[in-house]
């Protein structure tokens, strides 16, 4: 790239940062939010490329790129290609998808339940999805043979989706009374459902043989290590579709902040909104859990962090969460696979290390305005 152009781009980026700072000072939330979304796009792309460039093994991204666009003499090493295209790229893509889906699911649930603590992981939706997946692994071909035959490699995401959906519906049923969702009931019911699905999972783990157990341990900690194009192809349609629906929910979720009755009087089709929101959360969470196991805290940390900066407007919160969620998960995966290289850590450990202290900090900081 010519020097002047690089300089120009650099100027524009520093300009963006300066703009964001100015708007933050001026307290102009919506303009700040728009700028931040732009900044997050840049950061996400940079992280994505950075993650493809770093890892335990040496590989030349430039060579692979030249090969991809057909410029290279075909001397591209198989090693380079495998590392970049079959190992790092799927992990980055899956990290982006799963991170975005968890963060957006968090935003939608928090908006829907008008509760800052709602998170697919915290209220049992993820464990419900895990249960669906574990059921499929343990009872496997004997019981679910037809399902395998019908869905092929989609069987696992589909099972996880139904596990997540059933849990979400139950949770919603239990916590909502007279059109009002009780925060306390929601959290307690979430804990109860989490315990219940955990117990059923425990029974299945007990029944499992050694080989199935190996497949199962994965669900507890979560990992992007198994990322490959087959998994992405299985999960991406479900995740992308449920993410694509959420922008249409933004206005409704904003209105619901004032209460469901108020939203209804503002002309929001509240019931339909809730239904769509629940199905999309269950689908996104289910598909994410199916391909990457239970990765915690992304759904709660990302939306909170963004709410602190850009405020509660879902029109910006949703895209910003998707971007930041994906970025954070890719970063966490980079840490997971480089810190003890050539071995690697489960990513759930990394997200919990980042997420849990942050969560506590939020808790202490905003105790009063969270109704706790």
């Amino acid at each position: 790239m010519p020097r002047s152009e690089a300089l120009g781009r650099g100027m524009r980026l520093t300009g963006l940062a300066a703009d964001i700072r100015n708007e933050w000072r001026a307290g102009n939330r919506s303009r700040l939010a728009r700028l931040l979304v732009v900044a997050l796009v840049v950061i996400a792309i940079a992280t994505f490329v950075g993650s493809i460039m770093t890892g335990a093994a040496d590989a030349s991204l430039a060579n692979v790129w030249r090969w991809l666009i057909g410029e290279a003499d075909q001397a591209l090493s198989i090693r380079d290609r495998i590392i970049i295209l079959d190992i790092r790229l799927p992990r980055a893509v899956l990290g982006m998808l799963v991170g975005a889906s968890l963060a957006v699911s968090g935003v939608v649930m928090q908006g829907l339940f008008r509760n800052p603590l709602a998170d697919p992981g915290l209220v049992g939706v993820s464990s419900g999805a895990s249960l669906g997946a574990v059921l499929l692994i343990v009872l496997g071909t004997a019981t679910f043979g037809p399902l395998f035959a019908l869905f092929g490699f989609y069987a696992l995401p589909v099972a996880a989706f139904f596990g997540g959906l059933v849990t979400t519906l139950l949770l919603y049923r239990i916590a909502t009374r007279g059109g009002r969702t009780s925060i306390a009931t929601l959290l307690l019911a979430g804990i109860a459902l989490g315990a219940l699905t955990g117990a059923v999972t425990g029974v299945l783990v007990f029944m499992a043989d050694d080989k199935q157990l190996r497949d199962l341990t994965f669900w507890g900690l979560g990992s992007l290590a198994g990322a490959n194009w087959t998994k992405i192809l299985a999960a991406a349609p479900i995740i992308l579709l449920s993410l694509a629906v959420t922008p249409f929910l933004a206005r409704g979720l904003n209105a619901i902040t004032l209460g469901e009755a108020a939203a209804f009087h503002m002309g929001i089709p509240v019931q339909r909104l809730k239904n769509v929101a629940i199905v999309s959360v269950a689908a996104a969470t289910g598909a994410s859990v199916a391909v990457s196991g239970g990765i915690g805290f992304v759904g709660i940390v990302v939306p909170h962090l963004l709410r602190l900066v850009i405020g509660p407007d879902h029109r910006y919160l949703l895209p910003a969460s998707a971007l930041l969620g994906g970025t954070l998960l890719i970063l966490a995966d980079m840490i997971a696979r480089t810190i003890v290289s050539p071995a690697e850590l489960p990513i759930g450990i990394v997200t919990a290390f980042i997420g849990a202290p942050f969560f506590l900090w939020i808790l202490l900081r905003g105790r009063s305005n969270m109704g706790l």
Binding site: A57, R173, G178, F206, R214, T230, P237, N275, A282
Partner: protein, 316 residues
């Protein structure tokens, strides 16, 4: 329905969305290959004889065999279960055998991988295969015949069949001799051994059929006290009392305190067993005991001696 979720409406809007989400994915299996490869070309050269000059060894027994064959010069990496001999620990550790990371393995630049059966996950192995790294899975059985089979498999892969044959023969003879002592024993005097994997939270995890522990107990001429279930399971207190073990067998995880035996036998269920009355606790190095590698004959002798007390060097 006034409150809560309106299922009739859900059927129309929500489930329609769900159904669409699911049906959209049906269109894709046709496009998707059943393997993770992004591009699958230039694979033909893989069919010729594998280059086994730079090897990653996965599984403690496999690593031991490579050292026993004197082929350790080829090793460029090992998994975390490969802790013997001491020199193996200086090799880069590519992680736990069941949770291998493809990039970590590629990073040590191997031309081949020898792994014990059950290593994985399958996704990682698929990627490594794609990367033209020769791979072989060494069959694992927890009986006498399994060990020479492993040695021959490793030898054949490394192209040192003759050395492997010699090693297999000597290991086999040694093993036969070690096992003969135990096998000669009359059924009536065979002791009942309970292998305890862990006692986490007062819960005794014991080994049933088809486990390495079961295999080594039988080779040592003893009886597995809990041979009624497959794999490792948590036992109830009553089942432990019923099992009437004469000897408790555990892995020596190193740095264990002497008081541990007392604690163990103070557990209510265990305190009622013959093992507790005789304070019969045997601790052995996990890889030595359960590895089913070249050292198994010595493990059999050590265990046999510890159980039946023929030699003085039995551990407490």
């Amino acid at each position: 329905m006034i409150n809560g979720l309106d299922f009739r409406r859900l059927r129309r809007s929500g489930l329609a969305l769900g159904a669409f989400a699911l049906s959209a994915t049906f269109l894709l299996p046709a496009v998707a290959p059943d393997a993770p490869a992004f591009i699958r070309t230039a694979m033909a050269e893989d069919t010729q004889k594998a280059d086994v000059s730079r090897v990653v060894s996965v599984g403690g027994a496999v690593t031991e065999i490579i050292y026993a064959l004197g082929e350790e010069g080829r090793l460029v990496g090992r998994d975390s279960t490969s802790t013997y001999p001491e020199a193996a620990k200086t090799l880069p550790d590519v992680g736990y055998m069941r949770q291998l990371a493809p990039e970590g393995i590629i990073a040590v630049n191997p031309s081949a991988i020898v792994a014990v059966e059950g290593s994985g996950p399958p996704e990682a192995l698929a990627v490594l295969k794609e990367a033209n790294i020769a791979f072989t899975s060494v069959p694992e059985t927890f009986d006498k015949a399994g060990i020479p089979t492993k040695i021959r498999a490793v030898g054949a892969f490394l192209g040192v069949e003759d050395k492997a044959e010699t090693l297999a023969k000597s290991v086999e003879a040694d093993l036969d001799a070690a096992v003969a002592e135990g096998a000669a024993r009359a059924d009536g005097e065979r002791k009942r051994v309970l292998f305890i994997l862990s006692t986490q939270g007062g819960k005794v995890m014991a080994s049933g059929q088809g486990t390495a522990a079961n295999g080594i107990i039988e080779l040592a001429g003893a009886v597995n006290a809990v041979g009624t279930f497959p794999g490792y399971k948590a036992l109830t207190d009553e089942a432990i009392v019923e099992a009437k073990p004469d000897v408790i067998l555990m892995m020596d995880r190193g740095g264990e305190h002497a008081a541990k035996a007392e604690e163990l036998f103070a557990m209510p269920a265990l305190s009622l067993t013959p093992a507790a009355q005789n304070k019969a606790l045997v601790r052995m190095d996990g890889l030595h005991l359960l590895g089913f590698g070249p050292r198994t004959a010595s493990a059999v002798r050590e265990l046999n001696a510890a159980i039946y007390g023929k030699k003085a060097n039995a551990s407490q």
